[in-house]
C-alpha cells in the first residue's frame, strides 16, 4: 500500500450525507454494521439539498380516508408519471411511507403545525389527495444527521469520492480525497450506497449566476458518473425538471405558493393555467412549468405569480414561513423592494436539473430494485440519483430501504474484500493531481459555461435530432479537453471533478433524449420532431450504460421492473436501440 493513502475498511460506505445517505446509514448502523459516510460538506446536520430547511413532506399517513392509503395513491401513480415508472419499487416506497414518517418523528422532527397542534396537509402538484404535510422543517436535516452520529457512524467531511472500486462486476469501495487537507482515502467496503443527489449547474438560469440554482448547486451528478463508470444501468436521463421561481432567484418555494392558492397570470392579466390542466395551479409541477414555458413562447410573458386575492391569514402565514424553504427569500424580496402581498411577482423557469422531471415517483439516474440495489452487485442508490424519487420523502424512504437492503445483502456470506488495485489508485490520483499543474489550461468555469450553453440551446426544453446531435458533438469535444482542465487549488480540484460529472450527465441526457422518439410530460421531454406522445411504442424506459466507445442505449417496457434489465438478474430482456 502506497504510503500516501489513508486506508479504511468498513462494512458499508455511503457516498453523500444528505437525507437519502443518512437515512441509508441509519438502518445499516442499527443492524450493527460499520458505516462510513463520505460527504462534501463539513457537517451532516446541514448538508445536502435541505440542509438549510424544507417546508413540505409528501406522505401517506393511513389516517382513515381512502385517499390516505398506499393502495389509493398507487392506483394514481401511472397517470402521475405518464406511465414511465417502476411500479415494483414505487409500491415498496409508498407502502413504507407511514413507517418511515413515524421513524423520523421518533428522531425529534415535529411535523405538526403549532397553529393547530395537528398536521397541516395540503394538496399540490397534481396529487389525488392532501398528501403534503406543510411544516417548519428548518431543523429536519439536523435531526436526521444527528442520528448517524449518535449511532456511531464515521463521517468523512469535505471529502469527495471520485471513483468506485470494482472487481468482477462487484463494487468493493471507492477512492476519495479531502479537499481541505489533501488526504487521499482508499476505502474498502462490502457495500456502497450512492446518495449524491441530482445533477445541477446543468443549464442557464435567468440571473446567469452559475451557482444560483433551485436545488443544491453542489449536487452535480457525481453518483451518476461513478455509477456509470462502474457499469451500472441508468434510466430516465432524458427527462429534465424545472420549476417556477421569482425571476432572478432560483429558489425553492413553489409548493407553498401553489398549495396556499397563488395564481399565475400572463401579461394580459389572464389566469391561464386552466387552459393547460383542469387542476389549474394544482397541476403537476411539470405541467405548470410547461404552461409557463408555452405562455412565454406565445409571447404572453412576462408571467407573474399573484397572491393579492388571498385572505390576510393565508398571506400572514406565507410571509411568516417564507424563509423556511430558503432562508434568504425575505432578504431577496426586501432588496428587490418587492411586496408579494401587494403586487404580482414576475416569474421565470429555473435552470434545468436531471432529477425527476417534474413528477413524483419517476427518478432520473441509477436504476434500482426493490431493495435499492443497482445493476451492480453491492452497489445501492437512493435519493435524487436513483430511479424512484420524490422530494425529501422519496429520499427518506428509498434511503431507508437501501440501508435495510444493504443489511440484508451483508447477512449473506460475503467472502474476503479484494485487495485494492494500487496501480489503478495511484494512476487515478496522478491524473487528478495533473489538474493542479495545468497553468494555462481551460478553467472548470469556462468548461461548465460551455456545457450549460450547449444544454440550454440544444438539450433543454425544445429538442430535435439535429440539435441533439449538435450538442453531442460539442459535449464529446469538451470531454477531450477534460485532462487539461485547470484547478488552482484542492477546492478547484473538487470543482473539476464536479464539472466532469455535469458534462457526462449532459451527454447521457442527450443520448437518451435522442433515443426517445416522442414527446412526454410536456417540456420534460419535448421532441419538436416527434411532437406526439406515443404510448404504443414508447411506454418504455430508456436505459443508458457504459459502452465500448459511447454509451450503450437500450429500452425496456415499463410493464416490467427495471431490475429485469440487470445483468445479475438477466440481460435477455434488453432490446437494442439503433
Amino acid at each position: 500500500m502506497s504510503a500516501e493513502w489513508q486506508t479504511i475498511d468498513t462494512d458499508v460506505l455511503v457516498i453523500g450525507g444528505g437525507v437519502a445517505g443518512c437515512m441509508a446509514a441509519i438502518p445499516a448502523l442499527e443492524a450493527g454494521l460499520a458505516v462510513v459516510v463520505c460527504e462534501k460538506g463539513k457537517v451532516l446536520d446541514h448538508c445536502g439539498s435541505v440542509g438549510c430547511g424544507v417546508d413540505h413532506y409528501l406522505t401517506i399517513m393511513d389516517s382513515g380516508p381512502e385517499w390516505d392509503t398506499p393502495e389509493f395513491l398507487l392506483k394514481h401513480v401511472p397517470e402521475l408519471t405518464d406511465g414511465i415508472v417502476d411500479m415494483a419499487v414505487t409500491s415498496r416506497v409508498i407502502h413504507e411511507m407511514p413507517r418511515i414518517l413515524r421513524k423520523i418523528e421518533s428522531f425529534g422532527v415535529d411535523f405538526k403545525d403549532p397553529r393547530y397542534g395537528d398536521y397541516y396537509r395540503l394538496r399540490s402538484f397534481g396529487l389525488p389527495g392532501t398528501y403534503h404535510i406543510n411544516f417548519d422543517g428548518t431543523e429536519f436535516k439536523k435531526h436526521i444527521g444527528q442520528q448517524v452520529r449518535k449511532k456511531k457512524g464515521t463521517v468523512l467531511t469535505r471529502t469527495m469520492a471520485v471513483q468506485l472500486l470494482t472487481q468482477d462486476e462487484r463494487v468493493y469501495g471507492a477512492l476519495a480525497f479531502n479537499f481541505r487537507s489533501g488526504e487521499w482515502f482508499a476505502i474498502r467496503a462490502d457495500a456502497v450506497v450512492l446518495a449524491a443527489g441530482e445533477v445541477n449547474r446543468l443549464s442557464n438560469n435567468a440571473s446567469g449566476v452559475a451557482f444560483d440554482s433551485w436545488h443544491c448547486p453542489y449536487n452535480t451528478g457525481d453518483a451518476h458518473r461513478m455509477g456509470y463508470d462502474a457499469g451500472a444501468v441508468l434510466t430516465n436521463m432524458e427527462f429534465v425538471e424545472t420549476t417556477l421561481t421569482p425571476k432572478g432567484f432560483s429558489a425553492q418555494g413553489l409548493n407553498a405558493l401553489v398549495s396556499e392558492g397563488a395564481h399565475f397570470i400572463n401579461n394580459s392579466g389572464e389566469r391561464f393555467m386552466f387552459k393547460y390542466d383542469d387542476k389549474g395551479e394544482n397541476a403537476r409541477r411539470a405541467v405548470i412549468a410547461d404552461a409557463v414555458i408555452t405562455e412565454y413562447l406565445l409571447g404572453n410573458g412576462p408571467i407573474y405569480a399573484d397572491c393579492r386575492h388571498l385572505p390576510k391569514d393565508v398571506l400572514d402565514h406565507m410571509e411568516a414561513t417564507l424563509q423556511v424553504d430558503r432562508y434568504t427569500m425575505p432578504a431577496f424580496y426586501e432588496q428587490k423592494h418587492l411586496k408579494f402581498r401587494e403586487e404580482p411577482v414576475e416569474v421565470s423557469i429555473s435552470e434545468l436539473s436531471i432529477r425527476r422531471s417534474g413528477v413524483y415517483f419517476r427518478g432520473s439516474g441509477l436504476a434500482v430494485d426493490t431493495d435499492g440495489q443497482t445493476s451492480i452487485g453491492g452497489l445501492f442508490a437512493a435519493g435524487d440519483c436513483a430511479s424512484v424519487s420524490g422530494g425529501i420523502a422519496g429520499a427518506s424512504v428509498l434511503g431507508h430501504i437501501a440501508g435495510e437492503g444493504v443489511a440484508a445483502h451483508l447477512r449473506k456470506p460475503r467472502g474476503a474484500r479484494p485487495s485494492i488495485d494500487m496501480r489503478l489508485a495511484d494512476a487515478l490520483r496522478a491524473s487528478a493531481l495533473q489538474h493542479l499543474a495545468q497553468p494555462g489550461g481551460m478553467s472548470w468555469k469556462e468548461f461548465e459555461r460551455k456545457t450549460r450553453q450547449t444544454v440550454t440551446d440544444y438539450v433543454g426544453v425544445r429538442r430535435n435530432a439535429k440539435g441533439l446531435n449538435l450538442a453531442l458533438e460539442t459535449l464529446k469535444a469538451l470531454a477531450i479537453q477534460e485532462p487539461t482542465l485547470e484547478a488552482d487549488d484542492l477546492h478547484g480540484l473538487m470543482r473539476v471533478h464536479e464539472s466532469k460529472s455535469i458534462r457526462l450527465s449532459a451527454e447521457l441526457m442527450a443520448h437518451a433524449s435522442l433515443a426517445r422518439a416522442e414527446t412526454r410530460t410536456g417540456s420534460s421531454h419535448r421532441r419538436l420532431d416527434y411532437p406526439a406522445t406515443d404510448d404504443e411504442h414508447w411506454r418504455k424506459f430508456v436505459l443508458v450504460q457504459r459502452g465500448e466507445k459511447s454509451p450503450r442505449v437500450s429500452t425496456q417496457s415499463c410493464d416490467r421492473p427495471l431490475a429485469a434489465a440487470f445483468t445479475r438478474v438477466g440481460r435477455e430482456s434488453l432490446s437494442s436501440v439503433g
Partner: protein
C-alpha cells in the same frame, strides 16, 4: 473575470464578528475559510462566485454579523426568459 469584479454575497461586519468559525463550518459549498483556533483572524470568503445564497452562514452566526447581499443580476434581472428555452435547429 478579475477578482475586483466578483460580487461578494457574504458580507461580514468585522466589528461584530467574534471570529468563531461557525460560518466556515456550516457553508455547504466550502466557500468560507476561517483559520481555526485563532480568535484574531476574520473569515475569508474565498470563492464568492460559488455561493448558493442559502443563508446558512447568516442563520448560524451567533452575533448577526453576516448579511447576504444579492447581485444586480439577481435583484434586477433583465434576462429574456425565452433565451432559456432553447434554439430550434432546422
Amino acid at each position: 473575470m478579475s477578482a475586483e469584479t466578483v460580487h461578494n454575497p457574504i458580507r461580514i461586519d468585522p466589528e461584530t464578528c467574534v471570529k468563531c468559525n461557525l460560518c466556515d463550518w456550516i457553508c455547504p459549498g466550502d466557500l468560507i475559510y476561517k483559520e481555526e483556533d485563532n480568535r484574531e483572524t476574520l473569515p475569508v470568503i474565498a470563492y464568492p462566485d460559488e455561493c448558493w445564497y442559502c443563508g446558512l452562514c447568516q442563520s448560524i452566526c451567533p452575533v448577526d454579523a453576516i448579511t447576504i447581499v444579492f447581485p444586480k443580476e439577481m435583484i434586477d434581472c433583465k434576462t429574456d426568459v425565452v433565451s432559456l428555452l432553447g434554439k430550434v435547429v432546422e
